[in-house]
Amino acid sequence: MNFRSPRILPWLTVVTLTAGFALVFFFAPNDADQGFIQKIFYLHVPLAICALVGFMVAAVQAIIHLRGGDSKWDVRSYVSIHISIILGVAVLITGAIWARASWGKWFVWDEPTLVSFLIVFLLYCTYYPLRYAIEDRERQARYASVFAVTAGAFVPLNFIAVRLAETLVHPRVFATSDSGLPPKMWITFLVCLAGMGLLWETLVRFELAAKSSRARLGRLRRALEGDDVGVAGSRIAPLAHGATETS
């Protein structure tokens, strides 16, 4: 597996995201309704979109893994979910801050998007206990992929259900995200979204590279020490943790 990314990606991320945030504060006009507080929108919404898209990407990767049986796709699916969960934490915290500023409460149960996101987040959090509850590596990978596919199907369904549960016409403070967004805000939003997407991809590659180098290190250690120790067969069980057990 060669995860050596094109060197340009991290820099592109830095430039785009910085430019996006600069646009937020120096270019985008203040929202007529909400004023300055609406600036959280450019952080919160791209984060949420990237996290959700990341979950869907993980589902697709899991499907590829199940169909082809190549475990590198399981690793990718795992890392996609992992990074999306990290972004998800940021989504929930920034969402809570926005809710506090707009409505005076840290969490608002009748804002469907926020509630759906919380449910999806909770579901994906169970991915870790599931993985570590299964000993056999090959089975673990397969079951984790089944989970990723199921959860991927769950994401849109959950959003439908929660949105429908919204009673009548809730005064939507997020109305700015509808068609009424002025062009300057649109540009800012799109740049932020692109930056966040690039950030997601950068972090995923970073994480993949870290995991793969740790695995390589473990292999190297086994190759080097194996000569001294000389028992190949008996080490099979702990081999799976070879990269970490010796540290």
């Binding site: 206990p129 509850a133 299964i134 397969r142 199921t150 369904l157 959950n158 429908l164």
Partner: protein
């Protein structure tokens, strides 16, 4: 089809002989009603409270059954038999969904009248409620069979199954509560948004039925 009938028949016969799951579920439901009576300090319920109490009880009782539905397979090597025999996973999955759905229907035949007796002023809403509950059962059974097969091969399986199930069941709860609330309203049943919620439940059942059908084989191979 043959394998499906065999597995279904075997499970139902086992249940009839040992009475392992359904009585426990019914007892659990009855006790939960009593707990709610004191927890909420209400002697009669209507509307959203009634829907919530009933559905939460059914849901938690379902978890009992879901935890048990593959236990015999695991303890008596049923999985290996399925793997060895030329039976595809779909038959096993379908059979388990049916077993769970039947358990749930039987449970509700006991629990819903009991609930009506204990808490409801009028039983007028119960007929359309049956449709809602049938859809809920199907969703619970589908996702339950899927999650249970995942959990049964893991270490802390009693823990993993509810952990995975509860978030997955949130849409079912939303839709079922949305449909049941007007049915159990104080002023007699109304059908406010009934079709919409039934459609959501149907969508849920279909989607996870398809997901289960698509991925189930991967849970069996070894």
């Amino acid at each position: 089809m043959n394998a499906f009938r065999t597995i279904l028949g075997k499970d139902l016969r086992t249940e009839l002989r040992t009475l392992e799951s359904i009585p426990a579920m019914a007892l659990f439901a009855a006790t939960t009603f009593v707990l709610f009576r004191f927890g909420l300090d209400r002697t009669s319920l209507e509307g959203s409270l009634a829907a919530g109490v009933l559905l939460a009880t059914v849901l938690f009782a379902a978890i009992l059954a879901i935890n048990r539905v593959f236990v015999s397979e695991r303890e008596q090597g049923g999985f290996d038999v399925v793997r060895l025999a030329p039976v595809d996973g779909t038959a096993l999955f379908a059979a388990k969904v049916c077993v769970l759905a039947i358990y749930l229907v039987v449970l509700e035949l006991i629990a819903v009248p009991l609930f009506a007796l204990l808490f409801l002023d009028s039983a007028a809403g119960l007929a359309p409620l049956a449709l809602v509950l049938a859809m809920v059962d199907l969703g619970l059974a589908t996702i339950g069979a899927l999650v249970s097969s995942i959990a049964i091969n893991s270490r802390a399986r009693d823990l993993i199954a509810p952990l995975l199930l509860l978030p997955l069941l949130v849409p079912v709860m939303i839709a079922a509560a949305g449909a049941a609330e007007p049915l159990l309203a104080a002023g007699g049943p109304s059908y406010d948004g009934f079709g919409k919620w039934i459609a959501v439940l149907a969508l849920y059942d279909v989607v996870f039925g398809l997901v289960g059908y698509a991925v189930y084989d991967f849970l069996l191979e070894d």
